[in-house]
Symmetry: C2
Subunit: 341 residues, 2 copies
DNA sequence: GGTTAGCACTCTCAACTTAAGAGTGCTAAA
DNA sequence: TTTAGCACTCTTAAGTTGAGAGTGCTAACC
């Protein structure tokens, strides 16, 4: 049985109604609120068909209908229209983007905040992968007699720093060490720079060996905690507003999910349908704990690597709007990161 | 009526029992589980007295007793013993502290994480105040032709950086500008450095004026968002485990409280009883939204200013342990920050 | 006089009952 | 093919009830 026009209309109506209210949708409600020109009984028959085809489900024998994952999928892919941001809203977000360009990291953090507020779901950014980024500059700056500040700038604008111990040395000498480090380690991807540092260490048995060891350690720690550190989240409290979280056990569960990095893992291992922004719905996700949720996310490029920005929320999500907003952020991020690069 | 020995024992017993179970405590339970050598009826009489004195309350006429804020207070001040961390635990935490010394900011973040895990409450650090810290060093580093990295190191080891636009200039010239900035702005507290920058600007009408403006802007933004940025929190999910958060509305409320900075505000305006660590209980707190909670926090000094580290949880808190753990963190933080300074 | 046993009384909580309401599926007629 | 009608199912909220826990009071006890 194919999805004829009327079935499509009814499916859309059920989903939109369900997204709005969170309650199972009955034939009456559809007939009343959507002018389809047929009686509840007819709609009932159609809904029966839709259920048989797997697009709708029931919570119990005599309840209204609830969309299934498959239902959401066909809705997202074929039925729903494009939502557009209001002029006012897109202007506000636009000016936000203009004002927050300080460095990549804080830009991404601010974007998360804005995205979560714009959608009322949890927003996240999965930062660009460290492995493929390269080191742009290394500097050593005097702080006190025996401490120096090591600053590492990557090609994508991330700046990391830490204090290291140094033997007492003159300004010029420190300058020289900086130069030396830069010469050997700059413009090399983070995944390979560690080996380079090792090599450098072998040749250099002088008083700078200790410094090189500390630089290498720091480079290590940069890539090491990348997994969790690269993920920024914001607006978790938004999720609690959803009626699906009336149950405190589920809240617990959700918090666990957020903490242990399932979000990031899921995005990395779930093959999204090839839309942009990508939408993965419920069971399509690969990590068990997020199979009750949906993702909408886009990709942004910065330098030679890429990151993701998107939202995470209940399957019962306003997809047209979610797609529109995420798409907006994706576009703007790409523009800005391209320019400032 | 004074708190004689037996009343004190019974009050302690009620509080400890209530902290354990979260349920109102009856006279039977006390008689059974604590060997006080008297019958439930006697305990009942004593509990009646304790209620009249304001140390205990009831949830309804024929329920067991529940500690009042005043009850907790006298318990914390006079009745509870000192808890000690197990050797194993203090060793683990000790070694954690040794391993995480990278820079002040990440040390504090890690401390929050560890503290929340050790106590199972929400942990927080209120970072040292920016206003009173001074600038230790300013550096300008070339990144690309028309961009430079501005790095500002404060006396307490915080490092902030941002990218700024610069006219094309030689290495030496940039070095010179760095020097110039440092000469005029270093060793001055952040609250006064903005005026200095203004002065500098008046004299300097050359091509560096634009740079100085950007530096001033950045200094501004550093102090500006200090309020919220200085507060690190961790372990919010822990709170959800508490039975008092079975009710989703309260969870909502709590999340709101955490988001809008009530924690920090409360600590700043609430006069704590002069113990160390400080403990403020329920109604003693000044911000309305946290009057159902307790704080246990200590002070650490770093450079010329100070910060707070502590936990936030329900009034029904294991105070002996909370005090022991927070005290441990406080001590260690002070030691480390004193040494690395 | 402090302590205790006994007992009536209060209140909560969980289990059960009930009635209203929403929704379905089926049948038969239009 | 559509629709009206109707019996049936299931949920939900609002009582109802009984068991259990706890109290306060009184009177007896040491």
């Amino acid at each position: 049985m194919a999805l004829d026009d009327r079935k499509a209309q009814i499916l859309s109506a059920v989903i939109e109604e369900y997204v709005k209210t969170g309650l199972p949708v009955g034939s009456r409600a559809i007939a009343r609120r959507y002018q389809l020109g047929v009686s509840p009984a007819t709609i009932r028959n159609e809904m029966g068909d839709l259920e048989e085809m797997g697009y709708l489900g029931k919570t119990h024998t005599s309840s209204g209908r609830v969309p299934s994952d498959k239902g959401y999928r066909v809705y997202v892919d074929e039925l729903m229209g494009d939502a557009r941001l209001s002029q006012r809203e897109s202007q506000m977000l636009e000016s936000f983007f203009r004002s927050k360009i300080k460095d990549v990291e804080s830009l991404l953090k601010e974007a998360v905040k804005a995205l979560s507020e714009a959608t009322n779901y949890l927003a996240f950014v999965l930062g660009p992968e460290y492995e493929t980024t390269t080191i742009e500059a290394i500097h050593l700056l005097p702080v006190t007699l025996d401490k120096a500040l090591l600053v590492i700038v990557s090609d994508i604008g991330f700046v990391e720093n830490c204090l290291i111990d140094v033997p007492a040395m003159s300004r010029e000498e420190m300058e020289y060490v900086s130069q030396m480090l830069c010469e050997h380690l700059c413009h090399i991807s983070l995944s390979r720079v560690k080996d380079k540092a090792q090599n450098l260490l072998k040749r250099e048995t002088s008083r700078y060996a200790d410094i090189i060891v500390q630089v290498a350690d720091f480079l290590d720690s940069m890539t090491e905690d990348s997994e969790s550190e690269r993920l920024y989240m914001g607006g978790a409290a938004n999720l609690l507003k959803q009626p699906e979280f009336k149950d405190p056990d589920r809240v617990q569960e959700l918090m666990q999910t957020l903490k242990n990095g399932s979000l990031a893992k899921n995005i990395m291992i779930t093959e999204p349908p090839s839309t942009d922004p990508a939408v993965t719905i419920g069971d399509e996700n690969r990590i068990e704990t997020v199979k009750e949720f949906s993702f909408v996310y886009g990709t942004f490029r910065v330098g030679s690597s890429e990151g993701k920005i998107g939202i995470f929320g209940p399957k019962r999500m306003n997809y047209p709007r979610a797609v529109a907003v995420v798409s907006f952020f994706e576009r703007n991020l790409n523009e800005i990161l391209d320019v400032t690069d």
